[in-house]
């Protein structure tokens, strides 16, 4: 019966298709001409160093995240919403993704006071919001007043404070703003300088009536969402697509005096699934796409037919690691989180190192990632060129060395090759990870086999994401966990992970005081790197933290998949950085 089904369907489809082919011709009706305005350039226009290009072209991307939930800077919590907001709301400074330098944004220059706590920004003269209203220091002051306003709880408020003390933001004159931080704050330029600046003239009324958190939602008319970025929103259809059109008042131009961006439109189509997004790219329907290692082979086969190239970007910023629960505390009923005899193994650095030696990372890369991955020995992946310390203790696959370390730590084997500790307990633990990520599941399976070779029994427990987060962050009733975190960026992002009092110090979170000497040292180094603006010094401290992590192995680092980006060949000025989005300079893209 089933075999008949496709023929019936096919003939049905064919009939419908032919009828419709005739009907669909009117759909190709002439398009409305795209109109572009060119108001005069601002006085302090930013001129790109690239040779002039020409106007035209539509850039299409597909977002598997399903589109933004909000356009409100204070509400946004997910990457897709944040991405859309940062496209329209520029910061005082920007980052050159290729060189990782901080470059001027809405501020043309800045200076840092001798106390290393005072930052004075000089804004560009003549910059306007996309609706033509002038941009000024008032907008900057307004932005921070909103962030610190108790009525509007948001994630930025605590990012932009030190020990609960907010930064002071003052207007010196219309084009000068001064920030004073309560203490030296190393990542100031990157974190604060890059933060979006909100439009006072458009949002003041929502602050006055206390409804700021409801403003700029997905029902707001696109024209009300004013922009300082390269684009403004032309239309937004929830669940379908977001269409950006050039911001007529954008403050960048090329040396021929043409205002950027060159593109006529940039359209982001939303789908709900990575595969759908990839399929759209591989069939030539979108301009760029992140390709996972397992898909590189077949996507490359379409390069000629659809005029795209899959570029290798090297290691990604995703850090996969596993760790043992070293939490010595007890739950409310007085039961220890971890069996005391197991806790003893987990707290023994020789045991952790032995496990690390016992993991065949090359095998994982070959088996799971088709050779498209890189082994990891520390918290930073090589993609983070600025902060990556290559000189770490490494644990190349060596079961012999693993056995040697286990022997030293008092473990022994029975005739069947099973491992026992000195008290005669069989060495066995369960590994928890979340089930949504297939690559991680495969890694867990290889890990289990590797441990079996050492006589260690690993039981795999796949949990759903919610349960897993609860286990590692609240109930602590697990033995070993595996996780992948997207790292990269400034070490300040890792404060909650590396400080012993941190919420995500997974092996033993929220410590009252550091449990070990090396954790105390890490605490000290993390605080030191935060309290100096000297990059070389910060690097020194952060490199030492990486070194300690690789020696003590509270996290046993596994691998990072390499990252691949497919881009259509028709674009000029495509610059693919080691990490981060490739469209960071979309304003400079033009058709070849």
């Amino acid at each position: 019966m089933l075999s008949l089904r496709p023929t019936v369907l096919n003939s049905l489809f064919r009939g419908v298709a032919i009828t419709l082919a005739a009907l669909l011709i009117p759909a190709c009706a002439p398009r409305q001409k795209l109109k572009r305005e060119f108001p005069p350039l601002p006085k302090d226009v930013d001129i790109t160093t690239k040779p002039p290009g020409r106007y035209g072209g539509i850039y299409i991307s597909v977002d598997p995240g399903g589109g933004p939930n909000t356009f409100n800077y204070l509400v946004a919590e997910d990457a897709t919403s944040m991405g859309a907001i940062s496209t329209v709301l520029e910061g005082l400074v920007r980052r050159n993704a290729m060189t990782e330098e901080i470059i001027p944004g809405l501020a043309k220059s800045w200076e840092i006071g001798p106390d290393n706590k005072t930052y004075t920004f000089h804004l560009r003269e003549g910059v306007k919001w996309s609706d033509g209203a002038p941009f000024s220091a008032d907008d900057v002051v307004f932005t921070y007043a909103c962030i610190y306003d108790e009525r509007f709880p948001n994630r930025h408020a605590s990012d932009y404070s030190i020990d609960g003390k907010p930064f002071k933001v003052e207007k010196i004159d219309d084009l000068t703003v001064r920030f004073i931080t309560p203490d030296i704050y190393a990542p100031f330029l990157e974190m604060v300088g890059g933060g979006s600046i909100l439009p006072k003239h458009a949002l003041q009324k929502f602050v006055d009536n206390g409804t700021l958190m409801k403003a700029w939602n997905i029902g707001t008319h696109p024209r009300e969402i004013v922009s300082t970025g390269m684009f403004r929103i032309a239309s937004f259809k929830p669940g379908e697509r977001l269409v950006y059109e050039p911001n007529p008042h954008y403050w960048r131009a090329d040396s021929a005096g043409q205002r950027l961006p060159y593109l006529d439109l940039s359209i982001t189509k939303f789908v709900r699934d990575q595969n759908a997004s990839l399929a759209a790219f591989a069939t030539g329907q979108s301009d760029s796409e992140n390709v996972s290692p397992a898909d590189v082979e077949w996507v490359r086969r379409g390069e000629k037919a659809h005029n795209y190239t899959v570029h290798e970007r090297g290691p990604s910023t995703v850090c996969n690691f596993l760790w043992f629960n070293q939490n010595p505390e007890k739950d409310k009923s007085g039961k220890p989180f971890v069996e005391p005899y197991k806790l003893k193994w987990f707290q023994d650095v020789r045991f952790r190192q032995a496990v690390s030696y016992g993991i065949n990372r090359e095998g994982i890369i070959k088996g799971v990632l088709f050779g498209r991955g890189t082994p990891l020995w520390g918290p930073e992946t090589p993609a983070n060129t600025k902060w990556f310390n290559p000189d770490l203790q490494k644990y190349p696959y060596s079961p012999e060395q693993a056995r040697e370390l286990l022997k030293q730590a008092g473990f022994r084997w029975n005739e069947a090759g099973e491992l026992f500790d000195s008290a005669g307990n069989r060495v066995s633990f369960s590994l928890n990870t979340n089930q949504e990520n297939p690559i991680r599941q495969h890694m867990a399976t290889v890990f289990k086999e590797n441990m079996k070779d050492l006589g260690i029994e690993v039981k795999l427990q796949l949990l759903d994401f919610g349960t897993f987060v609860k286990k590692i962050g609240e109930s602590y009733d697990y033995e070993c966990g595996m996780l992948g975190l997207t790292g990269g960026g400034d070490p300040v992002g890792g404060m909650s992970v590396y400080l012993s009092s941190g919420r995500m110090h997974e092996w033993y979170p929220n410590q009252k005081k550091p449990a070990t000497a090396w954790e105390a040292r890490i605490d000290e180094l993390m605080m030191k790197q935060l309290k100096t603006l000297n990059l070389a010094e910060r690097k020194k401290y952060w490199f030492e933290v990486q070194r300690i992590m690789s020696e003590q192995l509270p996290f046993i680092y596994l691998i990072t998949p390499n990252s691949y980006e497919g881009v259509k060949d028709r674009w000029e000025n495509v610059e693919i950085p080691k990490a981060g989005g490739i469209t960071w300079n979309l304003d400079e893209y033009y058709l070849k």
Partner: protein
């Protein structure tokens, strides 16, 4: 009749209370909550999470949360989506037209092919056409909707004549009004077929059986004996009587108007209510899920009621009043 309808409507209240309580508890005891995604991000401070927890009321016991939710809902306030920060009703209203359009077209599609096919299958009973239609009806009934949807997506991507999903083309905003209309139609065809084909198969079998029942009744025999032409018997007498029971199924169709397309919408990336609700469920955006459940079950109950009323209306033998 009026008292009957009133009684049925009053019965809705305990039923909706029960459903809402059940779903609320299920959402509560399923692992994790809305804040998990935040908790897994390393740069979100613990104080912010605690603040959010208080703000959303997630730190209170579930029955307190339920009571406050119920109190609000009874006053007609379905609350605010936690992730979108807009009133749930606005959010649902944004997506409802797309789903409504799809449900209605697939309903029309199902009726338009089921009624004639059922009639012909009955008229030419035991012919090769009857057997073929039975075969394809069973096939259509036994293939799950999501699988059909997948087939449709594959078909679209291989064939190229249809969009692989969505509601409108990427250049929709720049088409002429006529072009825009055609664009919508073009995007509706595949989901309509996928969603309608199962219903069509079922309806067709019912139609056929009804026709056969009526054909074998005494008055048809009498008509034949009196020499009434075959066409007149079939279309004036038999069809009219046979279609009566189908009319009641319209009532049931009402209950599925907003919630019947969840699977198809998700597989075919159709931006309707089903997609939104599924997403809200995965994200544990509680008030959106609750509102969807309440609206869905109200429509089911009302749909049943409409079916019963229609039945009484088309069939004078049925009376609900004592």
């Amino acid at each position: 009749m009026k008292t009957y309808i009133l009684r049925r409507l009053l019965l809705m209240i305990p039923m909706l209370l029960g459903v809402s309580l059940l779903v609320f508890v299920l959402v509560y005891i399923s692992p994790g909550n809305y804040l998990d995604v935040l908790k897994a991000q390393r740069d979100i401070p613990a104080e912010f999470i605690a603040k959010k927890e208080r703000e959303l009321g997630l730190d209170r016991p579930w029955y307190m949360q339920y009571v406050s939710w119920l109190g609000r809902t009874v006053r007609g306030d379905f609350g605010e989506s936690w992730s979108y920060r807009i009133p749930v009703i606005e959010l649902l209203a944004q997506r409802a037209p797309a789903t409504l359009a799809l449900s209605l077209t697939s309903l029309v599609f199902a009726w338009a092919i089921a009624v004639p096919l059922g009639v012909f299958a009955a008229v030419y009973r035991n012919s090769i056409f009857d057997k073929l239609s039975a075969l394809s009806a069973y096939a259509a009934l036994s293939i799950p909707e999501f699988f059909l949807a997948l087939l449709a997506v594959i078909f679209a991507s291989q064939w190229g004549g249809f969009p692989t999903g969505g509601l409108s083309a990427i250049d929709h905003d720049y088409l002429s009004p006529v072009g825009q209309l055609w664009d919508y139609v073009h995007h509706l065809i595949l989901p309509t077929i996928v969603l309608g084909i199962g219903g069509a198969a079922g309806l067709m079998r019912v139609m056929r059986t009804n026709m056969l029942d009526v054909i074998q009744s005494d008055y048809v025999m009498t008509a034949r004996a009196k020499g009434v032409p075959g066409n007149v018997i079939m279309f004036r007498h038999v069809l009219r009587n046979a279609i009566n029971p189908l009319v009641t199924s319209l009532g049931f169709a009402f209950s599925g108007l907003l919630s019947g397309a969840v699977l198809v919408e998700n597989v075919m990336n159709y931006p309707g209510l089903g997609q939104l609700i599924f997403q809200a469920f995965m994200r544990k955006d509680r008030d959106v899920v609750m509102a969807a459940v309440i609206i869905g079950s109200s429509m089911l109950i009302i749909g049943n009621l409409i079916a019963d009323i229609l039945l009484a209306w088309v069939d004078p033998r049925i009376r609900y009043d004592k």
